[in-house]
Every structure is written in C-alpha cells, then in structure tokens.
C-alpha cells in the first residue's frame, strides 16, 4: 500500500507493450475470444452475451458476499453458496405457501415478489451472521486453515438441511412469465427474466456501493479491512463490523437466491455448491476484496459460461469455469484490475 501514496507520475515507468499485455492478460484473452466469436457468428454470440450478462447478475451478487468477507477477515466463506441456496428455498416456499401463480393480478405478483425478496434477504443475512458466530468467530486467532475447515463443515450441514427440506428439485411458480419476449434488439430477444434480473440487481449493487463507500458503517468496514487492530484503537467495534459484513453478504446472497428461483424456474439443494464456486471464481477474477471487480467478474463469468454452453456443450462448462479458476488463481491472483484492493 505504500506505493499508492506516492504520486503515480513519479513511480510510473514506461511499460513495454509486452508488460502491458501481461498486466491486462485477462482482458486481452476475454476480449479476443469474444471478438473471434462475434466475427464468426454475430447474432448467436450477441445472444450468448445477453444470456451471460443477465445470468452473471446472479453470480455478481453472490461474488460480492465472498469478496466482502474475504476483504475484511481474509476468509473464504465456503458456506456462502449454501446461504444463497437457503435464500432460494425460502422465496419458493413463501410463494408456495401464499399460493401465488403467474395468472394472478400484476399488483399481487409484484407484492409477493417484493415480500419474498425482503424475507429471503433478511433470512439469508441473519443466517450468515449466525454462521460467523458459530463457525468463524471462535477461531479468529487460530491458524488460517482452521476456519476454512469449519466453513466446509458448515457448508455440508446447510446442504443437508436443504436436502431434508427439498429432497428432489422443486419448481418455482413462474410469476413473471419469464420466457416471454419483451423487445428485440439486433435480432436478440430480450425476455422478461433478463430484465427482471437486471432490475433487481442493479439497485442493490448501487445501494451496496453507496453503503460501503459513503456511510459511517462502510467507513468502519473499510478501516477494519485495512487494519483491524488500528481500527479497534480508533474506537471501532471490530466484532460488530465483521458481523455487519457477513449480514451484507448474506443479504445479497438472499436476493440472488430469489432472482435465481425466478430466473431458473427450479431450485435444488445442491445448487449452492456449484453457484458458490462459480461466484468465487468471479470474485477471484475481479481481484478478491474488490467490490466493483466482483461485479465485473460475475458478468464476465456469466458470458464465458454461455459462450462455452454454445461452443463446447453444456457438459464441459463447469470444467471450463473451474479450469479458469485454477489458472487465474495460479497465474493472475490479482485479477482483472491488476492490484489487490480491499473493500474499495
């Protein structure tokens, strides 16, 4: 961080093109792959990009939870995917209990979606806070791998809670008629679920960036991320700030779960594991600890997934995403934006 305080003009040296390419290697690779596909099959690729971006909104929301927690206590919250899954389950159960269907009046549907959003956000948020209390706080000073092991334990517990709750995949009521085309741009049909994902996610993202960047609590989070001891000396309640971070992450995961239920139409107990790994890939790609990076990473992973679905077949997509995870972690751990940023 010392380098950051020195004016950039003093330290900046002329970079050779090769250095520039290496620093932006992820952008270069992604850009060139996208460009090749755009040239060879324009409409199909545009369609993939659209699907990828709206799907990527969900990954972005989950990835933010990983990046927030990692930024503040350097822990991979392995149970985060399961928090997302529980959020989905709660939303679907709520709709099933209320008995709302896609044929009800628009006002009723809007109300039930809003209610499900709030309930699943609150439930997932408090679940995440509870996980921190039970599994991570007792081990805060233990060797770093200890909380990672409890995180895995927690993840398995929650996954099995999900298994008892819904042993088989369950379909979510199609409240918004998600496959209906709203409008068409450049021969690409924009369907309702795409618009829905964007319409719910973007306000949440803006709210989160505002919260972390502009409020007093956000400032406390950033301070704790930089140096917990100094933050404590400055009068910040570090434990509560960490709890707040988990709450925020859980809230976003709950929202993602609700969107996923509508967007995908089915929920199942093991959706959290894969979604968690994909979102973690997104967080690493954006540079873990970097909020905007997590969002961009989520969108890019979404696009990569849909491109791979089209060109390699769906069965290879998970292997490709996890392969990207390994390659990025090994060769470019700083991610898309080059430097490690914590909570910014």
């Amino acid at each position: 961080m010392e380098a950051a305080s020195v004016p950039a003009s003093l330290t900046a040296q002329r970079k050779t093109p090769l250095q520039w390419v290496w620093e932006n290697i992820l952008w270069v690779l992604f850009g060139s792959v996208l460009a090749i596909y755009l040239v060879t099959d324009f409409t199909q690729t545009l369609e993939d990009v659209k699907t990828g971006l709206s799907n990527g909104m969900i990954w972005a929301l989950i990835a933010l939870g990983y990046t927030l927690v990692y930024g503040i206590i350097e822990l991979i919250n392995f149970a985060h995917g399961e928090v997302f899954m529980i959020g989905s389950f709660i939303a679907v159960s709520l709709w099933q209990t209320l008995g709302v269907l896609g044929t009800d009046s628009p006002a009723l549907i809007a109300l039930s979606i809003l209610l499900a959003l709030i309930v699943s956000m609150l439930a997932s948020g408090s679940l995440n806070v509870m996980i921190e209390r039970v599994a991570y706080r007792p081990l805060r000073n233990a060797p770093k791998l200890a909380p990672l092991i409890t995180a895995i334990g927690m993840s398995f517990i929650l996954q099995n809670v999900g298994l008892l709750w819904r042993p088989a995949p369950d379909s979510s009521p199609d409240l918004i008629g998600s496959q209906k085309t709203l409008f068409t741009i450049l021969d690409v049909d924009i369907v309702r679920s795409d618009v829905f994902a964007v319409a719910v996610t973007v306000p949440l993202l803006i709210a989160l960036l505002w919260f972390v960047g502009r409020t007093k609590y956000g400032k406390a989070m950033r301070a704790t991320a930089q140096d917990p001891d100094a933050a404590r000396l400055m009068g910040i309640n570090v434990d509560r700030t960490i709890g707040l971070t988990f709450l925020l992450g859980g809230v976003l995961a709950g929202a993602a779960g609700m969107i996923y239920a509508i967007y995908n139409g089915t929920v199942q107990f093991n959706q959290g594991f894969t979604a968690g790994l994909i979102a973690f890939t997104a967080a690493v790609m954006g540079g873990i600890g970097n909020l905007k990076g997590a969002v961009v990473g989520g969108l890019i992973i979404g696009v990569i997934q849909s491109l791979s679905d089209t060109h390699f077949g769906q069965v290879w997509t998970p292997a490709i995403v996890f392969g990207i995870l390994i390659l990025v972690m090994v060769f470019k751990p700083s991610g898309l934006f080059g430097e490690e940023v914590r909570e910014g």
Binding site: L139, A142, K144, T150, F156, N160
Partner: protein, 413 residues
Amino acid sequence: MSGAAATLRRNGRSVQRMLPPRAWGVLAILLAVAYPFVIEQLISGSNDLLDASIQTLAYVIMALGLNIVVGFAGLLDLGYVAFFAIGAFVMGWLGSQQFPDVSGGEGFHFLTPDTSPLGGAIPGIHVNFFFVIFIAAVFTALWGAILGAPTLRLRGDYLAIVTLAFGEIVPRVFENATSGIFGIGSIDFSNGRQGITPIDKVNFPWSDTPFHYPLELEPIYYVGLGMVLATLFLNIRLRDSRLGRAWIAVREDEVAAASMGVNLVRTKLWAYALGAMLGGFAGAFLATYNNTVNVDQFEFGFSVFILCMVVLGGMGNIWGVILGAVFLSMLNRFFLPELNDLPDKVGLDFDVTSINFGIFGFLLLVMMVLRPEGLLPSSRRKLELHADDVDADEVWFDEASLYDTRDDEMRPE
C-alpha cells in the same frame, strides 16, 4: 489440562510401557491378521462386517495419504477425490474390457487369464493387479506433482480452493470423456455415467485363478491388509526421515524453514506427490473390489469424508488418523443406519443415512472449534493449534511436548 484427563493420559502411558513398542506393533498386526477368523467365530453373518472392513482398509490408506499433505506438510487439500478417481480409472483402463479393439480384439494380457472359462479370448487390456496398483500409484503421483508444481507458491487458502477445483474438474472430465476430451479425439475413456464395469478380479502373478470376492472375502482382505501395512511402514519411515522433518518445519514456519536450508518447492512437491500416490494406490484397490469405476463415487463429499477422518483422528498423528478412518467408516456403515428410527421418535420423517455428509460436516465443525488437535493429538500440532491460548510458562515447562520431536506415541521414554 484438567486433572482427570491427565490421570487418564498417565495411566495410558503406563499401560503402554508394559510392553516394548515393537511388541505392540506385532500385537496389532497379529490382531489384524486374525480378525476375519475372530469375527467369524463371534458374529453370525460376519461377511457384512468383513466387507465393511475391506472398504475401511482402503479408506485408511487414503486417510494416511491425505495426512501426509494436510497433517505433515500443513497444506489443505480439498480435492483428494481426484486422486482416488485417477487411480480407479487406471485400474479400469488396465483391467477391464473398456478398450475392446486392442490388438485386433484379441486383447492384451499380462499375467492374467487370457481366455474366458468358455474358451474365447478376452478382449481389452488386462494387467495383473499387483502391477496395476504400482502403475496407478506412479500415475497419480505424477498428477499430484503436475497439480502441485504451479500452485505451491499460493497462500494456504488459495491452494485449498485450487485443489478443490481440480477435484471437481477430474470427475467431470471423466464423466464426459466418452468420445475424446473436449470434443478432441473419439476414444471412450469412461463409459460416461454408467462407468466401467466389470473390473478384473485380483489374481496372483503365478496363478491363473482370480479371487472369488464378493463370495469369498478373506483373500482380498489380506491383500488390502498388506497394502495398509506397506502404507503404514512408508508413512512411519517418511515421518521420521529428513523429508518428514522438513515437512513439519515447513508447516510450522515456512520462512524459518527456508532460511534453515529447507527447499520449500521440493519439500511440498514430495508431499503432494506422495499423498496423491496413496490416493491412487487405494483407488485402484477399491475399483477392483467394488467391481466398478463410476463417476458418481467421485464427488466433493468424498474428499471431505477423508478430510474428516484426518481431522477427527488428529492431524499429523498416524495412529490418530487410522483411528479416525476406522471410526468414521464404521460409523457411516453401521451406526448411522441404527439411528434411522430416531427421526420418527421426534416426529420427523427422513433417513439418517441420507444426511451422512451433513453429520460429517457437523463433526468437522465441532472438532475444529472444540478440539482442533483431534482425538489422538500429535503433540507438536497441538501446540501450534493452541498457540494463542496456552500460557507461555506452561509451554516452557511442558518438556515432553517441547522435546518430543516425534509424534509417535509408542516411543519408549
């Protein structure tokens, strides 16, 4: 340490001192050898128990392998199942009819029966089991090193995730490699979701009669036991070797170890390769014993199952890990089904065996929070895990743990 626990520990030690350490070892081996006969006498229908015990032998090998990586070298590996998968598939490729076109449908045979009882030639590749396990071990060790080489400079938690991703990729590649990999080539490597089955039975290189499991389990039990003993010998010798001390030094403090002249890269690579090797070793055994190589076996839960054995027994302590493996494997096979009427009693309706991984997760959580050193702790590891809450004076005067550089509880004093 509380008074009662200290008394128990002292009593345990005095029982231990009644016989020299080697005698304890011989006794344990004799017990293991006599085991099939003993249970046959004691329990009617002991085949079920013996079958579970044979599976357990394979789990013990895997837990000991993972213990090298997690316990000795302190590198968290969450994708151990990948090595199980690779070892099992090597057995599948070299001991089944998966590749029927080899040498024009005549098949390739190496110290295995080359004609079926009906008279025709058996197609496919068939290599004797006792050679396949070593091929599988070397092949998986190679993969361990391939995975390890680029990842070793990562921090511990990143390393864990990379291994996890590897553990997810390998089964998926096998699952989809029914006509080449990533659409390249056209060889069927895995038979997709059906898996490769049947797998050749074990036969001795000097005899053409294969074993008759699952009808007759004793011979294969002794093969498994022999593999466990070889693994155990390897583990003990490794732990007390220069390499083993280097692992412990790296685990405790990488920077200090490096400045004392330990070659970090080579040390960690060996840990990876040897840990992976044992995974492949056991994988090949389980493949022939279960008579199938099926991708459904290779899920993330299995990695956690093995990790749970290591954590429960005591990371870094060979005897603890064996105890953990036996305990968890038997718990999974016999004790959980016993609990099946429990949910009924509290008015719920579910199968306890279906949530076994949730129970393992719970065990992991409880162990790490309450007793991270495991049931049979390794004394050094315990000190590390409790570095914060142990009083400095207490550490200083706890001479046994300060100077006992070996984790072996059986060491004479």
